[in-house]
């Protein structure tokens, strides 16, 4: 799984790069518009170590943000699964609030929390929280009638058992959603860093943009892609192990 993810990313990145270089050479554009191969190579040599460290910094914030949002999404999802007034309110609120673009409220977050770690974490968590929540609410609200009926009839149904049954029956969906939400968490962290933070790979992209340096941006994109591929691959392996452990 891991090497598949990395291979897929390398393939897509290389194709994208080749397309850019083709445009550059066909239209005779300068290195200022699209950097040539040697300039890219030189830039990669200059900044790749620093960008790799910053990429890991960004990923660590994204992972913490994702974990926080998974916990919160499960908590709200479990509360919201019930057909009670509380459950209905939670569901309606979740559907409505997720329509708000986080980028629009990000400046308020930065003003209130400053441009350090907390703002990055909060924005990362918010961006990946809502899609996660919708999936968890959807899965947890859907009864698995065949199995649940037995426990209801024998009077042994408890909320913990209900949650376990629904999670187990939808394990594959849940692990896919969690793996997918890592992309959102990373994107959220990068957006936060790009807008106003002063650390991480998104901050480097901002500086490269100030310097009109597309070569640095392309190196940063490589670092983001490779870091995300490794993280997603690891999440998939983890999901696979969990499924295996549960089914055995």
């Amino acid at each position: 799984m891991l090497h598949n993810r990395i291979f897929q990313f390398l393939l897509i990145y290389t194709l994208g790069l080749l397309l850019l270089l083709a445009v550059k050479y066909i239209f005779g554009l300068s290195d200022y518009v699209i950097p040539g191969f040697w300039l890219l190579w030189r830039t990669a040599g200059d900044v790749s170590v620093r960008y790799a460290v910053d990429g890991v910094n960004t990923l660590s914030v994204a992972i913490i943000g994702q974990m926080a949002s998974i916990l919160l999404a499960f908590f709200i999802g479990i509360v919201g699964r019930q057909a009670t007034w509380l459950g209905t309110i939670v569901k309606v609120a979740a559907y409505n609030v997720q329509a708000y673009p986080i980028v629009a409220i990000a400046p308020i977050i930065f003003i209130l929390l400053g441009d350090g770690f907390l703002s990055r974490l909060f924005i990362a968590a918010m961006i990946c929280y809502f899609p996660l929540l919708l999936s968890v609410v959807g899965i947890m609200s859907e009864p698995v009638t065949d199995i649940e009926h037995f426990y209801q009839q024998t009077g042994r149904m408890r909320w913990q058992l209900e949650v376990k049954i629904r999670a187990f029956e939808n394990l594959s969906k849940l692990t896919t959603v969690i793996a997918g939400s890592s992309t959102l968490a990373l994107a959220g962290t990068i957006v936060a860093e790009f807008i106003a933070a002063n650390a991480g790979i998104g901050y480097n992209i901002r500086i490269a943009l100030y310097q009109s340096d597309l070569a640095k941006i392309l190196v940063a994109l490589f670092m983001i892609g490779i870091t995300l591929s490794i993280y997603q691959g690891l999440l998939e392996i983890l999901g696979h192990s969990v499924r295996k452990a549960w089914t055995s």
Partner: protein
């Protein structure tokens, strides 16, 4: 009767000079959103100076993600405004760009500070101060060059990464904050003065750092293929900037900017205009648009010193001085 009238009209149209029939369509990409820093550009448009040179100019506001030099090369714009550091970086990477006018003779980028915090008599007063800079932007290099020229090492000051909001400055966590003196400087200065604060500005040029700001650029190809178009555009544009610095045009200038910048009140715009005039024409109207070659050379040297370019580019070869 109608046949002869139609024939005469047709002949008049046929024989009329081309210039009288259709103006040349030109796209002009600005560096930033339209505010008082673009007053000459909007006046050239609103007063019909472009039109009288047979130009139909589309003014496109800029922004942080807009890059006029890239747009020139890709053919999306005919003329644009770029900062000197952008031009020098572009030239270093082989972009075929030339500078046809320098809009600001004095860089509007300055540092605002509370006068009751400290007195700025000389560069040595900066020692130990917390100085805001935007890492990666030209204020970083201007401040570093200023400190270097004044013999102050970087570890003798504390550099603070400046981003969206001014809260760290208002809370006095930072002593000096970079602003564009003719726009943000006036707005923030007004609010602080209303609150009873006394503020001052650090002018890098007084410390011997003359880093060039916004200039008008076009592509080498356009200049070679259609020098007449470049001349007409340049002439109309500088007429706009001369009008902007002419007291007789004050109300028109303010009205032209206010059409786009609706959030700034008239009194503030009036002060912004005065400050802009001081930066654009410190030596009088006839020097508007002049290219300060010595300042360009110093800008190139600063960029070379701070690793923004890896070799000298000989920037004077790209400056079109009439």
């Amino acid at each position: 009767m109608w046949k002869s009238t139609a024939l005469v009209s047709f002949l008049v149209l046929l024989l009329a000079p081309k210039s009288a029939m259709a103006a040349d369509e030109v796209t002009y990409r600005l560096k930033w959103l339209i505010n008082m820093s673009t007053v000459g550009d909007v006046l050239a448009q609103s007063q019909g100076f472009f039109k009288s040179e047979q130009l139909a100019v589309t003014l496109k506001p800029g922004g942080p993600e807009r890059d006029a030099i890239r747009e020139l090369e890709l053919g999306y714009a005919h003329f644009g405004v770029a900062s000197a550091d952008q031009v020098i970086k572009a030239v270093a990477k082989g972009a075929p760009v030339v500078v046809i006018a320098q809009l600001f003779q004095i860089n509007p980028l300055q540092w605002i500070y509370f006068e009751d915090n400290f007195t700025l008599n000389g560069a040595s007063d900066l020692i130990g101060k917390r100085i805001g800079i935007t890492f990666g932007k030209n204020d970083e290099y201007i401040m570093k060059a200023l400190l270097n020229q004044s013999g102050i090492a970087l570890d003798q000051v504390r550099l603070f990464s400046v981003r969206l909001d001014y809260t760290p400055f208002f809370h006095r966590q930072v002593d000096l904050w970079p602003v564009y003196a003719n726009t943000q400087g006036i707005e923030i200065g007004n609010s602080l003065e209303k609150a009873g604060e006394r503020i001052g500005f650090l002018h890098p040029v007084r410390f011997g750092v003359n880093f060039v700001a916004n200039s008008v650029v076009t592509s080498m190809k356009r200049l070679a293929d259609d020098p007449e178009l470049v001349r007409r555009f340049s002439s109309a544009l500088l007429k706009g900037w001369r009008a902007a610095c002419d007291p007789g045009f004050r109300d028109k200038a303010i009205a032209a900017v206010q059409r786009y910048d609706r959030d700034t009140d008239r009194d503030t715009l009036k002060v912004q205009l005065q400050e802009t005039q001081r930066l654009v024409s410190p030596q009088g109207l006839k020097h508007i648009g002049d290219i300060d070659i010595a300042a360009w050379r110093q800008t190139e040297q600063i960029m070379l010193t701070y690793g923004q370019i890896n070799r000298p580019v000989g920037i004077e070869k790209y400056l079109i001085v009439p």
